[in-house]
Symmetry: C2
Subunit: 196 residues, 2 copies
DNA sequence: TTTATAAAAACGATCATACGTTCGTATTTA
DNA sequence: TAAATACGAACGTATGATCGTTTTTATAAA
């Protein structure tokens, strides 16, 4: 056989990414096989190589894509907000909303960094650092304006991020707590910890 | 060849567990091979089966062992403390201290639950639930005695656990912040969030 | 509008290597 | 003398990646 009628590179790549997210999430990157991936997409194993360079490249693509989108989104969200307190509230609401809908990406982006080649690993860590700085700067600015009182801004940054991200591992959208309530509770928790 | 001089079941099993923690942490459970494991311990692959039932059994053993020890330790730690505020402080200090020294176990205990057979999965989730209840009950008791003021005890339980556990993924024992400072900062953060 | 042609996207076979587990056997320890 | 511990060979199956080939699609000239 050969090229299938109606086949399109864009659609196939999107399907590969989607199935890739699922499989890495389910089995871990090293344990996921390209044969499984091809089967889910409806291809022969060799055909994947019309769309990806290597298996490693696919992993990097998945994580990189997530991080770049995350950064662009938070910047768009904070744009035009000057008051540190308002920026902090916006950050919390955004972070929860965004991460709750991307459990697979969050999981992969933390548990599979180990499987990235050094060069790729460095790039992702740099992007993550960049995201952390968004929160760090908000806290710093709030302290400078004497709105916040924070013992250790660096540690608080990590503590807040850990709390907000970790919640996504158990949050059940169909559960007792709706999204708005979740955001309200966490906003209050964080503010109580940083407000003067 | 055959049985090696000086070989002992207890020591070999301990070595298998230790190397197992390393390998699952480095590669993920499915991707870790029993051949790698045997090589690290200094055995032939088949010899592992004098000490473990199956690969799945090894994973369950690693996680189960961690959870059981965790539960016994927190109970020992809280024993004899009645005041909810003191219990909460003890919980925070214990949780941080214990988890910082067991990064591999924490990582595996959350990222590799997916690889447990349903029966084993249920057992581990029950143990984890049991640990979560220790904190939940402290918060509940504190609210009942009107020491704490908490909007949603369940959500706060998860938020606090997420914060305290998440911190272990980046904390560097050789870094700027020493352990006592870390505990102080987090104690203050949590207390500000729950105290009336 | 038709036709020529290059690029894109799929197939199926193939490579050497690695997988978890079982088994019969040999040696050491209790 | 029996149990514990290790070896080494073997089982069928799966691995990531490459390759030559074939068909479809897109582009642009006629």
């Amino acid at each position: 056989m050969s090229r299938t009628a109606g086949s399109s590179g864009k659609k196939t790549l999107a399907a590969i990414r989607e199935a890739g997210l699922d499989l890495v999430h389910e089995h871990g990157f090293e344990a996921m096989s390209l044969r499984q991936l091809a089967a889910r997409v409806g291809l022969q194993p060799g055909s994947l190589y019309n769309h990806i360079e290597t298996k490693q490249d696919l992993l990097f693509d998945l994580i990189h894509n997530h991080m770049v989108t995350l950064l662009a989104s938070i910047d768009a969200e904070l744009e035009g907000i000057d008051d540190p307190l308002e920026r902090l509230k916006a950050f919390i609401a955004f972070h929860l909303t965004y991460h709750i809908e991307r459990k697979r990406e969050v999981f992969i982006g933390s548990s599979e960094l180990r499987s990235l080649e050094p060069k790729n690993h460095r790039k992702i860590v740099a992007l993550r650092k960049s995201y952390e700085e968004r929160l760090y700067e908000i806290l710093e600015q709030g302290c400078a304006q004497r709105l916040f009182k924070i013992e250790d801004i660096r540690v608080s940054t990590y503590a807040i991020l850990a709390m907000l991200t970790g919640i996504c591992t158990w949050y059940d959208a169909k559960g007792r707590v709706d999204r708005k309530t979740l955001i309200d509770i966490h906003t209050r928790l964080v503010l109580q910890g940083v407000l003067k």
